[in-house]
């Protein structure tokens, strides 16, 4: 079964996809489907993005018929891609050469443009789940892209927040935050000419990090070549620092927030990357439990300034 179901209690669409249940879970390197010679990628490759065999959304989804005006359904239009960062099975983002991450950013740019060009796509969401703590089903370095047929609830919340800020203050919240944080320095983890990585004042997770372009750009395709290269550097530095925090592979959810480009107010949006790592200590997890899941209200057990200092102190090589 593959369909969208409407929840009138929250005004949101739920993707019902029985196919995703069939995804393999943590196969060994010998049976890795995305290694060269694996079931998905028999040929040699450097980087590749392909449509998921077990998708939550499809370009040709099955027909649906709504049962009534109460229980509304829609077809699950969309595209779910698996983005393979490298053919090497046993490296991750922090261990990849900077050049490889630069190429990855280039690929994300191209995927963004192509996926947004489909009629049925309203939003393109790039993300990576690293580690079994956040449900990664393959250990081979990879991320995913969901091209949604609707604007997901949290994206809509962001779009509305950007619009409200604009109406009230006449500016962009991220632009304002960047100016202030660069002045204050205390929450900054890493800074270059065009980007700043920081633990936000409003962090929801203990070691949450956001990467903000200093210039007001709405989406990845708007970044200059130089900026794309700097973004790659930030991704490498932050993930290296994460791994250095407790001397272990640090699990995280990495998410790219770009403008919903088909909306007229897309120009108000400011591109940013969020890392939401679930760990609050070496062996402790900050769970998305009842309060967080049920109310969207987060209780952060770590003071953001302290988290920033811990991450800042971890020395890493940029190469």
């Amino acid at each position: 079964m593959l369909e969208l179901r409407y929840n009138p209690l929250t005004d949101e669409w739920i993707i019902v996809s029985a196919e995703t249940q069939r995804r393999p879970v943590q196969p060994s390197q010998q049976s890795c489907p995305i290694c060269v010679g694996g079931v998905e990628l028999p040929e040699k490759y450097d980087l590749v993005s392909f449509e998921n065999r077990f998708p939550a959304l499809k370009r040709n989804p099955p027909q649906v018929s709504s049962e009534s005006n109460i229980f509304m359904k829609e077809r699950s239009f969309g595209i779910c891609e698996v983005v393979v960062y490298t053919s090497k099975h046993d490296v991750a983002l922090p261990g990849m050469p900077l050049r490889q991450i630069e190429k990855l950013v280039e690929m994300w740019v191209d995927r963004t443009v192509e996926l947004f060009s489909h009629d049925f796509v309203e939003y393109v969401f790039i993300f990576e789940n690293r580690g079994k703590e956040v449900g990664a089903s393959l250990s081979h370095p990879h991320g995913q892209i969901y091209a949604f047929p609707f604007l997901p609830k949290r994206i809509l919340a962001k779009v509305e927040a950007f619009s409200r800020w604009r109406n009230q203050k006449g500016s962009c919240p991220v632009c304002d935050v960047v100016v202030e944080e660069v002045k204050l320095k205390k929450r900054i983890v890493f800074e270059t000419d065009s980007f700043v990585s920081l633990v936000p004042f409003y962090a929801r997770f203990p070691f949450e990090v956001h990467i903000y372009p200093k210039r007001h750009v709405t989406s990845l395709p708007e970044l200059t070549i130089q900026e794309r290269s700097e973004l790659a550097k930030h991704l490498k530095i932050i993930t290296l620092k994460y791994d250095g925090l407790y001397g272990q592979e640090f699990p995280y959810m990495m998410m790219f927030f770009q403008a919903p480009m088909k909306r007229l107010d897309a120009e108000l949006f400011h591109l940013h990357v969020e890392f939401n790592p679930p760990k609050r200590d070496k062996d402790k997890i900050k769970w998305m439990a009842s309060v967080e899941t049920g109310t969207w209200a987060f209780i952060n057990p770590m003071v953001p300034e302290q988290a920033a200092e811990m991450l800042r102190k971890i020395e890493v090589s940029e190469q």
């Binding site: 450097d46 980087l47 392909f50 280039e106 443009v113």
Partner: protein, 348 residues
């Protein structure tokens, strides 16, 4: 330039007060918003400027901004807009609606003034626009490709067709001939209407509908209806480019006849009669040099592009700047219909 019978410079003076309107100064922008307190007046003079030095959009429905030297005066929330011109002066008369705004902006260059004006207006109107950007007539409507991105435009005498398409799940827009037809088509499920006259009560009664005015003035349509059909035949190229800014506030619907449809697409106009390219559009307009505008967008070839328009030559010089990438891409379709996109180093 005189606004509401006052020299425009008066509005920027700290001591200036007038019982007829309230003033809000936006310091950093050097802009002033005047809100009229009464809305029951007959049309009266709101603006008077010098015919020779004044600039405004040439098309009547877009004549809601006037510029002279370093000052722009724009208005919204008026109806019965009447513009009288002689060899020396341009005088604008209008009747205020309930929410009326006159925005005065001072600064340099026309594009900057316009941008600031629309930013202020956007903020004041608290707008959130989400309207269909494409209305396609039956002949050009493709049920398979257009059902999610466009509305099928039908006339009000096509009752059976309206019902037939609605039953198939197609989104239908109906061009109304009379007010009575609105309720009738709403009852059968139509949610997008083209109409000649809009009444405020429609907003409450038909809260889930899009309303597009077939005739009207931007000054009275902003914040009231969801779109406006404009005739751009008389537009100069520069006006066409600048009208792209109006789209940030009020979607403008134009017919592609006789106009470069790709340019209209780039400028983000709503469309009637032809299928818009489905790519996202960045309607970022920058004035690169005197008379040269640059617009960033994503082209129909799925690559970020820019168009440079030299209005002094009265022609469009379009260039596509491909995304500079060092990657070569190869797309393969597997037997099960899935697409695989391979990227490797090497200029494409």
């Amino acid at each position: 330039m005189r606004v509401l019978n006052n020299e425009v410079s008066k509005f920027f003076e700290d001591s200036f007060h007038d019982a007829r309107f309230s003033l809000k100064k936006i310091d950093s922008k050097n802009a002033v918003v005047a809100k009229l307190k009464r809305s029951d007046e007959k049309p009266f003079e709101i603006l008077r400027c010098n015919r020779i030095s004044c600039w405004s959009f040439s098309e009547r429905s877009l004549r809601h901004v006037f510029m002279e030297n370093d000052t722009l005066v724009g208005f919204a929330g008026f109806e019965k807009v009447r513009i009288e011109e002689d060899a020396e002066q341009v005088v604008v008369f209008a009747k205020p609606l309930v929410e009326t705004l006159i925005i005065i902006v001072r600064g340099f260059d026309r594009l900057n003034l316009l941008k600031t004006f629309y930013e202020v207006l956007w903020g004041e109107c608290n707008l959130c626009i989400k309207t269909p950007k494409t209305l396609l007539m039956k002949g050009s409507f493709d049920e398979k490709f257009d059902r999610r991105s466009a509305f099928l435009l039908l006339s009000s005498d096509e009752d059976n067709e309206v019902r037939r398409y609605l039953e198939k799940g197609v989104r239908v827009a109906v061009k109304l001939e009379s007010e009575g037809e609105l309720q009738r088509f709403y009852n059968v499920g139509v949610r997008c209407f083209l109409l000649n006259d809009f009444k405020d009560e429609y907003r409450e009664r038909y809260a889930d509908c899009f309303f597009i005015l077939q005739k009207g003035n931007v000054a009275s349509a902003i914040g009231k209806v969801d779109g406006l059909i404009v005739d751009i035949k008389e537009f100069s190229l520069e006006e066409l480019v600048l009208a792209g800014l109006v789209n940030r506030l009020l979607p403008l619907y134009v017919s592609a006849e006789g106009v470069d449809s790709k340019l209209l697409d780039v400028l983000g106009f709503g469309a009637i009669g032809w299928r818009r390219c489905t790519n996202p559009i960045f309607t970022r307009i920058e004035q690169e040099r005197e008379s040269i505008y640059e617009i960033s967008y994503v082209s129909e070839f799925n690559v970020p592009g820019r168009v440079r328009i030299d209005v002094s030559k009265n022609s469009v010089e379009r260039f596509f700047e491909q995304s500079k990438t060092s990657l070569k891409k190869q797309t393969l379709e597997r037997e099960d219909g899935r697409y695989f996109h391979f990227y490797r180093e090497g200029a494409s």
